[in-house]
Amino acid sequence: MSLIEFKDVVKTYGNKDNLQYAVNHVDFTIEKGEFVVILGQSGAGKSTVLNILGGMDQPTSGSVLINNQLISSMNDKQLSNYRATTVGFIFQFYNLLPSLTALENVALTKDIVKNAFDAKEMIASVGLLEHKDKFPSQMSGGEQQRVSIARALSKNPDIILGDEPTGALDSQTGVMVLELLRNMCKERNKTVIIVTHNADFAQCADKVIRMKNGKIKELTINDNPAPVREVEW
């Protein structure tokens, strides 16, 4: 059984007279340990798919099975629990709490899950031990994103979701972050799903889902994904 089963999911906004389909009958599956990239232009519906996978939004119809849990019919409390234990989210603009240091932002997960990894170890794993006591405003974009990744991983989630994780970074830093994510996927057997509009990402992915106007335009499986460093950006 697949880790993620997205079945005939529809997400609409607006009222009967002005119904907008953000996601329009989308189906796909994702296996454990896959590095998946969802590609599409602005308004394609990729972020909506990610939000539904992350338990931050509910589909209008359809079902979403993750790890045998039907998250599409969960209530608020159950979704909160799901987000705490199953998902680690990485945002385009990092979304670190500005009044906490790098270490404290990662250590925050200890208040969420009992078995969170040690914050110092996680910070070290992203190469930022010497910056652990800095506030987000004192760090570069790449450093902040690495902290965000450490935060996401510290909960030891089954799935890591990234919404344009390199969108606010320069290309060199973006490559570094992408490589980190790819390594996390392979070394720790995490399922990583990245949403991006950058088609170059497809070369590194195990699976590429191309979306347009709320529908899946193409789903390709990459038998030989290229290492991040070998891709021409």
């Binding site: 939000n51 608020d76 603009f93």
Partner: protein
């Protein structure tokens, strides 16, 4: 981690959160401070009453016998009763002090509280126990000899103890405006130690007592009457010398019949003592004048009224400060939650539970309000409480003064914390209902719609800054309301504070230029004959005035629950001792006029044309008088009439004072005991009002604090809400000064409106404060134009000063950073 976030967020928005802390602190500080004095007084008073076995009821009459005492004692619910006699004597000293001397054969009820020396011994033949405050003023000590005079009889005893009694928690001379402890005191003595023989001889010699009086009141002359009848003579043949000879040989206990016990004090086991009046009246065959409970005893009532006023007033401050705290928290937390929207969304995305996020934000106000409230609770009683206790002894007498704590204080602390935390809860609740995905996006802009001001016909003609500010007020109603409410409260407190001084100046003028239209007041000696008094008045072109205590009701022979204790003033209508109407305009009092004070008329529900019934305090005969005028007096409640009207009552006219505009400093006359001139009396009044300075300082200080806090917070919120717009204006080319004036304008409008609303409310609050001062006072709240102007200038000045604080922020505004936003 969220705790650290809280500390750092508070530090980052220090002034706004400090405001919440300060408002919580002030709400509890002021309440606990003012109430602690009351709590302490009540605790001490309660113990004082218990220690002295204070009477529950007082019965006054012409004279009570032992049989009547036993009859009352035997009634249900009467646990004990005792007789005593009070006489008004004159003490030693140039100022001819008055001493109320209590003569008792036993002392089981209302026992004097010993400050120094021995406990009162009603069997002592050579001792006298004097109240300690008088003793302090007169430098008297235990062991000193002290003399009192009464009806030409001198009583000289050794001071065995310095005492106080709850019946004199408040006391002042009849004509005084405030207590002067050097001029009035009280003392206790054994009845049998009173030189009754000399006293009766003096009464007979002076003609104050006649043969008929002796026959009516005693059996002392019964055998003489029998002898006369045996010799075909009548009582008219009895001469003074015969009586004096008889007195010399009479046993003292018979002579004491001429010094009857006019007071009976009782202890009961019921809370409603006045409900026993009918039974007591029956036991006494209705042969009594007045029946009072503790609530009606003037010496106790005055302090209780003051405590009640403080109690009422102490609630005003927490209500004002908590309301402002509520508004500040709601606006501050609303703002903060909007600013931290994405952080909230991130926490939700991470799986932080809603409850935890809610608790986190509620903890801001919970922590600050708890610390503020507890600090207020700890410091209020020690500062304000002790300050009030410093002033109270100038007017009142208790064994000691201390602040106390009550469970209500903790309730106020709890209420403060609940209000503050609850306000935050209401601010947070909305955003937590939004799903995490939407929370991660910036809030959608508010729907653009026309504000109400845009419907004004001259909207198009308004300048950009006016339109901009009106739209902003419409958009941020809560913030605008906070600014308005805060400045309204500030103005109200300021006007009340300054108005206090104006009102006291007005009372000064009212008393000493309208009511008491004379330069000197001469207190007539006790026992001065009416002819001597009239001669003195004629010599000085003065006016005789009588004042006495009365009970007044709307029906004759009313029982205690329907009577009101008041005073009667009898003048000669010569224009030196006046009355004024409710607007302080002097009224002519003519023969046939009976004026009743406004507060008394309201209490009895009478108006001009109605009839009231009254009797002198220690007399039983009721008199009907038709009310022809309603007057107003700042310091007295009662009825006023001319001498000719009083004479119709059947009571004998006994003037207390002679007032005149003549210089009396060199006058030698046996008729008067002491004189006071106007300057002294005014100085005395000013001195008594010193405690008001403290209240005024308190009101003005907190008015400024509230105004500054509210305006500053409103300014910060306004700035933060509009920082992008202000940055845009800067980019467009507006000068910082222009933008500052733009922000200042809104604050100025709201401050002016707040000041305009607060001004009349300040007068209302001041009048309420004076009206809650009990029945005895009837001040008219007067606020000068100058006070209004000063208050308005201070409030608007605070507004300007706060705006200046923002000029620095505007200059430093980084347009690029603000307009870049997330990018």
């Amino acid at each position: 981690m969220l705790l650290r976030k809280m500390y750092r967020d508070i530090k980052h928005n220090f002034m706004q959160f400090f405001t919440i802390f300060l408002l919580s602190f002030l709400a509890v500080f002021l309440y606990a401070g003012m109430a602690s004095s009351n709590v302490g007084i009540k605790q001490i008073q309660s113990q004082y009453h218990k220690d002295t076995n204070l009477a529950d009821g007082w019965i006054y009459g012409d004279g009570f016998t032992n049989e009547e005492l036993n009859a009352v004692k035997s009634l249900d619910h009467i646990s004990d009763a005792q007789l005593r006699k009070m006489i008004e004597t004159q003490g030693e000293g140039d100022n001819k002090p008055t001493i109320y001397l209590y003569l008792e054969k036993q002392n089981i009820i209302t026992k004097p509280y010993v400050i120094e020396g021995e406990a009162f011994n009603p069997d002592s033949t050579d001792g006298i126990w004097i109240n300690n405050r008088f003793a302090e003023e007169q430098n008297l000590r235990v062991g000193d000899t002290y003399s009192l005079s009464y009806h030409n009889v001198t009583i000289t005893k050794i001071i065995k103890g310095l005492i106080m009694t709850p019946e004199y928690e408040y006391y002042q001379e009849k004509t005084a405006l405030e207590p002067d402890f050097s001029k009035l005191g009280y003392a206790y003595m054994n009845l049998n130690a009173f030189p009754v023989r000399e006293y009766v001889e003096s009464l007979v010699t002076s003609g104050d007592i006649t043969v008929q009086d002796i026959l009516d009141q005693t059996s002392a002359l019964d055998d003489v009457v029998a002898q006369l009848e045996a010799n075909n003579m009548t009582t008219s043949d009895i001469t003074k010398d015969m009586i004096i000879d008889k007195i010399a040989s009479m046993p003292e206990d018979k002579l004491f019949d001429l010094l009857p016990m006019t007071e009976m004090i009782i202890k009961t086991d019921v809370s409603d003592v006045l409900a026993l009046e009918d039974k007591i009246a029956g036991a006494l065959n209705n042969d009594y004048a007045v029946f009072l409970d503790r609530n009606s005893q003037p010496g106790i009532k005055q302090l209780n009224d003051e405590i009640a006023q403080h109690d009422q007033f102490s609630f005003v401050f927490p209500v004002v400060f908590l309301t402002i705290a509520l508004l500040t928290i709601m606006t501050t937390m609303n703002r903060m939650i909007l600013e931290q929207r994405i952080q909230i969304g991130t926490m939700k995305a991470m799986g932080v539970k809603k409850r935890k996020i809610l608790l986190h934000y509620c903890s801001y106000s919970f922590f600050l309000s708890t610390v503020g409230a507890i600090l207020g609770l700890c410091t209020g009683p020690f500062s304000i409480g002790n300050a009030l206790n410093y002033f109270m002894p100038t007017m009142y007498t208790l064994p000691k003064w201390k602040s106390g704590y009550s469970s209500t204080f903790y309730l106020i602390v709890l209420m403060t914390v609940i209000v503050c935390t609850g306000a935050t809860y209401l601010s947070c609740r909305k955003i937590l209902k939004i799903n995490p995905a939407d929370t991660l996006r910036p809030a959608p802009p508010k729907n653009g719609k026309k504000c109400a001001f845009e419907h004004l016909p001259f909207w198009g003609k308004l300048s950009f800054s006016n339109q901009y500010n009106l739209r902003d007020i419409s958009r941020s109603k809560l913030r605008a309301f906070m600014c308005l409410f805060g400045t309204m409260c500030g103005m109200m407190l300021m006007v009340s504070g300054l108005g206090c001084m104006n009102t006291l100046d007005n009372v000064d003028e009212w008393m000493f230029e309208k009511l008491q239209n004379y330069q000197s007041e001469m207190i007539l000696k006790d026992g001065t004959s009416l002819s001597d008094a009239e001669q003195l008045s004629k010599t000085l072109s003065g006016e005789l005035v009588m004042t006495d205590g009365i009970e007044v009701a709307v029906e004759e022979n009313a029982n205690a629950t329907k009577k009101v204790t008041a005073s009667i003033t009898v003048t000669e209508g010569k224009g030196l001792y006046n009355i004024t109407d409710i607007n302080q305009k002097v009224m002519s009092l003519n023969d046939g006029d009976v004026a009743i004070t406004r507060k008394l008329a309201e209490k009895l529900d009478v108006s001009v044309g109605d009839t009231v019934y009254w009797h002198l305090y220690d007399k039983e005969k009721w008199v009907a008088s038709k009310v022809t005028m309603i007057n107003r007096n700042p310091q007295a409640t009662g009825i006023t009439m001319t001498r000719s009207e009083y004479d119709k009552s059947g009571y004998s006219y006994q003037p207390l004072i002679c007032v005149t505009n003549e210089n009396v400093s060199n006058i030698q006359n046996d008729a008067f005991a002491v004189t006071y001139d106007r300057i002294d009396m005014q100085a005395s009044f000013d001195n008594s009002m010193k405690s008001m300075n403290f209240i005024v300082a308190l009101l003005v200080t907190f008015a400024i604090i509230i105004t500054v806090l509210v305006l500053y917070n409103s300014g910060i919120l306004s700035f933060n809400e509009r920082v992008k717009e202000l940055a845009t204006l800067k980019v467009l080319g507006f000068q910082s000064g222009t933008i500052r004036r733009l922000l200042f304008k809104q604050n100025l409008w709201l401050s002016m409106i707040g000041a305009m609303i607060g001004a009349p409310l300040g007068k209302m609050m001041l009048q309420y404060m004076f009206d809650s001062n009990g029945d005895a006072m009837d001040y008219l709240a007067v606020i000068s134009v100058q006070s209004y102007l000063i208050s308005a200038i201070v409030v608007i000045g605070c507004s300007a000063a706060v705006s200046l604080l923002f000029s620095g922020k505007l200059k430093k505004l980084d347009m690029v950073e603000v307009l870049k936003g997330l990018e």
